[in-house]
């Protein structure tokens, strides 16, 4: 019974997870997408590592039972890889769609957050916030973003 962990794998996993989560925090959709991909690799690798140390291929009559590797996590990881692959493709398509519709690939501001932030600002900076307040709702997302662009 092997109770030690593979240090190399632990470090690789730590790096993959931290890089993945760091990229998820970015504003650019493309970086978020890469973050999801890296995070997905991390999760799939973790599934592999969870099967214990590597061994021989699990083929009956060819290897001794105690030498074989645990095939189950590999099967799980394979399923998970297919799923993450499919979802990455979907996200890529969505990112492209967002780029076509909006013209850039930044994650847009939440309207509610925007309004709360505007309320907290001193009076002088309010002029674009008041326009939002009269008409609530998510429809004006694009407008408020354009306004924000203009302010820059």
């Amino acid at each position: 019974m092997n109770t030690t962990i593979n240090l190399t794998m632990a470090i690789v996993l730590a790096v993959l997870y931290s890089v993945g989560f760091y990229l998820l925090m970015q504003r650019s959709l493309m970086r978020i997408l890469i973050g999801i991909v890296v995070l997905g690799h991390g999760a799939n690798l973790l599934l592999q590592v969870s099967g214990g140390p590597p061994g021989r291929a699990p083929i009956l009559d060819a290897v001794l039972p105690e030498q074989i590797t645990d095939p189950l996590p590999q099967a799980l990881a394979l399923t998970a890889i297919v799923i993450t692959f499919a979802l990455t493709t979907l996200l890529l398509a969505l990112g492209y769609r967002s780029w076509v519709l909006v013209g850039h690939d930044e994650v847009q501001d939440d309207v509610e957050d925007r309004r709360i932030a505007d309320r907290l600002k001193p009076k002088g900076a309010m002029e674009e916030g008041t326009a939002d307040e009269t008409e609530a709702g998510p429809e004006d997302t694009a407008d408020s973003h354009e306004l924000e662009e203009g302010r820059r």
Binding site: G40, L47, T79, L94, L101, E112
Partner: protein
């Protein structure tokens, strides 16, 4: 496999086959409609049979491919899962009727779609699988089927103003899915199994700290899906922007599946004798934050979304008590809430079609213009607030009684339940006064005729009313038959708290909750090398979950997609 066991697989297989057939006939709109309605109606019948049988004779277990648990994948229909399956499918069916008629009145009778009907049925597949599965990894697959379908439904025909909320939803859900995958890996590394019943036995042998970490990871994962505060931020942002039937379906089902997964894993794998302080605090905060958020909203759909978040807290409260009564209360509340929340979003869709706006302050006098809409809104709104004699009152009473019987912490949170109910009543009363009373206002012109969100005409087909009204009928029936229903949920709560019925049914009598077999820290399952005879399709995605030896007979496996 007996016929009854084969029945357990039908709620998953039927919608999947229906989805495939729906793609094949994607040129014929009427055929797609028939397939959708017939499939879901059949699943309703199957779920009813399962519920009656599980209530009479205990859990029904189907071993897929003939592989025995814990090696193979099992589908389990016990009282709780069969009950939730039945009510979910009923709601899905009513939403489909509504959606079909909305599509007819918007796009014409002949317009077929290659995506809508198949994806709708696939979503139903994922929901059924999530309720029935007895295996943590299959639960992940079920969530993925469900969520992938929901990504498509929420971003279909999307416009520039709505793409942001769709992206938020997709990214948040994907992140939680990857965390779920991480949790599965950690659980397997710690115990060497992913079978829920097997986990129930093995988890007890783990050190306290490790168990707490695993429990916490799973709470976070399902918490994001169920939208408990502070993991709720994505929900009021994304749900309101989808078309009404899609929002109704998501609000009714997706969050409840998260609650069900939380309920199943917490009671089965991490049982407790005393109330869980963490979950009690989460429940109280969720109820209050959601209700206060709802009071502050002007957008009807956002208001309903915040109410949804608030009422998720009610369900977490019952679970947090970790008593049979509390779990039974949660079950009853889920049944009531699935129906009523879906109804409210459907009615909201009807209202916005009439007024052309989602802003409450721009509506008025609808009670004179459309009295039938007023009735359709009033009944579920009163039910949601939990006034007697509605189903909401029955469910809330069950929760309050469970809270009162669980010591001081339970009583404190029970007081929060009452407070949140009052805030809910205030929020829906505000909608009622602004929207249905006062001077009638002219409907606003639709500013964006291409989106599905706001049509801005009074042209609502009869089927939309039928869909919404039938759900109102379901919630009235729940109230009328509250006695027998609470009997079922009480027995279900007892089952979940006791665990033995479930583990015995899956693993065979006496096998489940006993002391764990050899569990290694690295997850080499059990070192059962002596009798290990392995013949498996190496690397095949359909390998049977559950550690340990694999039966010698190589049989075809059920493969996750």
């Amino acid at each position: 496999m007996t016929p009854l066991q084969a029945f357990v697989t039908l709620p998953v297989l039927l919608p999947m086959l229906g989805a495939a057939t729906s793609v094949v006939v994607s040129r014929r709109a009427s055929a797609q409609r028939v397939i959708g309605v017939v499939t879901l109606a059949l699943v309703c019948v199957v779920a009813g049979v399962l519920l009656v049988s599980a209530d009479a004779n205990g859990p029904i277990v189907a071993e897929l491919g003939g592989w025995p648990a814990p090696m193979g994948i099992v589908l389990v229909a016990d009282r709780m899962s069969a009950l939730l399956l039945l009510i979910s499918t009923l709601v899905t069916l009513a939403v489909l009727v509504y959606a079909i008629d909305q599509r007819i009145s918007d796009y014409g009778r002949e317009t077929a779609s290659t995506t809508f009907h198949p994806i709708f049925l696939l979503l139903s597949t994922g929901v059924s699988l999530a309720y029935l599965t007895g295996d943590l990894f299959t639960l992940f697959v079920a969530f993925e089927i469900m969520l992938a379908s929901s990504y498509v439904l929420i971003t279909r025909r999307t416009s520039a103003s709505r793409i942001r909320s769709g992206m938020t939803y997709v990214i948040v859900s994907l992140t939680s899915s990857l965390l779920f995958l991480t949790a599965v890996g950690l659980v397997y590394a710690a115990t060497g199994t992913v079978n829920l019943a097997d986990l129930a036995g093995r988890m007890g042998a783990l050190p306290e700290g490790l168990r707490a970490v695993l429990a916490l990871v799973l709470i976070v994962v399902f918490g994001i899906k169920a939208a408990i505060v502070p993991l709720h931020f994505w929900l009021p942002d994304s749900y309101p922007n989808a078309p009404a039937p899609v929002t109704a379906l998501f609000a009714g089902l997706l969050t409840k599946v998260g609650i069900y997964a939380l309920l199943r894993t917490q009671t089965l794998i991490f049982p407790q004798d005393s109330p869980s302080t963490l979950l009690l605090v989460i429940a109280a905060v969720t109820m209050v934050v959601g209700a206060l958020g709802a009071v502050a909203q002007d957008d009807l759909n956002r208001l309903l979304s915040f109410l949804l978040v608030s009422h998720i807290g009610f369900m977490v409260f019952g679970l947090a008590l970790h008593t049979p009564d509390g779990i039974a209360g949660t079950g009853l509340y889920v049944v009531h809430h699935i129906t009523v929340q879906a109804t409210l979003f459907l009615v909201s869709g009807l209202i916005t079609r009439r007024t052309g706006t989602v802003s409450i302050s721009q509506m008025g006098g609808l009670a004179q213009q459309a009295p039938h809409l007023a009735v359709l809104f009033a009944v579920p709104a009163i039910t949601l607030a939990g006034l007697p004699p509605t189903s909401g009152f029955v469910a809330k009473l069950a929760l309050l009684q469970a809270g009162a019987g669980a010591g001081v912490p339970g009583e404190l949170v029970a007081a929060v339940v009452v407070l949140a109910s009052l805030l809910t009543l205030y929020a829906v009363a505000r909608v009622w006064v602004r929207v249905f009373w006062g001077a009638p206002k002219e409907p606003l012109a639709d500013d964006d005729p291409n989106d599905e969100l706001v049509v801005g005409t009074a042209r609502s087909a009869r089927g939309m009313y039928v869909g919404a009204a039938s759900l109102v009928g379901v919630s009235v029936v729940i109230a009328l038959f509250a006695g027998p229903l609470s009997g079922v949920t009480a027995r279900a709560g007892q089952d979940l708290h006791d665990r033995r019925g479930y583990t015995d049914a899956v693993l065979g009598p006496g096998a489940g909750t006993g002391p764990a077999a050899t569990v290694s820290a690295t997850g080499r399952p059990g070192d059962l090398d002596g009798e290990l005879t392995v013949r498996t399709a190496g690397g095949d995605a359909g390998g049977p979950p559950g550690g340990g030896p694999v039966p010698a007979a190589a049989q075809p496996l059920e493969v996750g997609p």
